[in-house]
Every structure is written in C-alpha cells, then in structure tokens.
Symmetry: C2
Subunit: 107 residues, 2 copies
DNA sequence: GTCTCACTTGAATGATGGTTCAGTTGAACA
DNA sequence: TGTTCAACTGAACCATCATTCAAGTGAGAC
C-alpha cells in the first residue's frame, strides 16, 4: 500500500498531485487539524479537545492526512502524537505551508 | 441563487471558505481549466480542444468554477468566453493565483 | 492475570461529486 | 421559417467520501 504522496515534485505531474493534495485538504476538519499542528505535535486527545471532533472521526481524518504524507504519527505510551511532515516543516513559512503546487496560509 | 463565494475574506470564516474553494479546485480538470485561463479568456470550444474534455463535461465544471466566483462568463455570439474572475486577476502573481487562504502556483 | 484508557479499524450509512446521456436554449444563417 | 452550431440543463448512474457505530488493539495501572 502506498503510504505517502510525493507532494513536493514540480514536474509534468504537478497538476495531478496538486489535485490529490488539494482533495485531502479541501475539508474543514482536516484543514483545522493542520492549523493546530502548526503550533507543534499534538495527541489525538488534545486535538479532540481543541476542535471538538470525535476521536473516531479524528482518527479517520488523521489517517487520510498521514496517507497523503502531510502528517506523521509517533506513539507515546497510550497516546499517539501527530505532527506535520518533515517535508512540510522544512518548507514552512510562518503560518503558511508550502505544498509545492500551492501554499496554504492560515490567519 | 447564490452565484459567487467571497473567496477573498480573511476573518474567522477563513477555514470554511478556504475549504470550499479548495473543494472546487481539488479536481484535475478544473485545475487545468484555471491554468488555461491564466493565458487569457477562452471559449468552451477552445478549452475543449486544448484539454480534450467533452463540451458537456466542461460546461458542468465551468459552472462549478463560476458559482465559486473563480471565473466569469461572457457571451460572444454563439460562443461563451470564460475568463478568470477580476478579483483573481487583480491578485495574480505571474503564474500563481492568490485565493486569500492559499496561493495556487502553476509550473 | 484483569481492567481501563487511548486510539484504531472495518462495516454500514447517507451524502456528495464526477461523468454521461438526452433534451433544450439561443444565436447565426439560408 | 427551418437548420445548424455552441453551449447549457437536468436526470441518471456510479464512485467516492464523511460520519457513525461496534468491535478490536495495545499500552499502562492495579
């Protein structure tokens, strides 16, 4: 199973991968999760409390973000800590993240 | 019927409108249409020839782009000419378009 | 060991979205 | 008028997606 998408390429497949990444981010909940993670890694419980999104639903959304290569997961005892992917953090510009084909900026 | 979305706002509803706009652009065909329109207005026939997308399908996609306020339509005799919305053109940066919440850049 | 917590998975549901088809509108022209 | 062209609309179909529910995993506490 492909677990990540090369979101940073800039060749002829730009449009295709761009649409794929946009599809993942074209959701209020997932966009909010990414914004939360801009301030650093968070556990599912923390995100749940901040966004008031059910843990199960959150888990599904986090899975989508992880499969798109946008976030990474680390296990901390019982908890799971999610963080923005290293590639995103490397290209981060303040409260904006550079996806290659596009830049998402948060207020 | 609401015919356009205020895509340039930057208040607390940023996330919501951002997700809405991203939903519209998270499609290869619509992304390609926007890229074509970066070079100036085009008729449906012209876009059809450039992208090899069926006129009917194109019409549906153009309708979605128009309802999102991303493109405008002008009738030219039998033809319909589509162009990027004035708001987008005003904020245009080369081959990148600034949507407020995010910037889409084409190669 | 059992129990609980934190999270995940998978199935099921309903909703939304992309595509195609058939039919329609509107404009130009004979 | 009738015909043709360019584009549009609406319905239908199928696929995908968001959400919920029930059940499962895995780690710590007892």
């Amino acid at each position: 199973m492909k677990s990540s998408l090369n979101i940073l390429r800039s060749d002829s497949e730009t449009d295709i991968s761009c649409a794929s990444v946009l599809k993942v981010l074209a959701d209020e909940t997932r966009l909010a999760v990414v914004e939360v993670l801009l301030d650093g890694p968070r556990t599912v419980t923390e995100i749940n409390e901040m966004l008031e999104v059910e843990p199960t639903l959150l888990s599904h959304h986090l899975r989508a973000l992880r499969e798109a290569g946008l976030v990474t997961r680390e296990r901390l005892g019982r908890h799971a800590s999610y963080a923005l992917a290293p590639e995103l953090l490397a290209r981060r510009k303040g409260r904006a993240i550079d996806l290659g084909c596009c830049t998402i900026s948060f207020s």
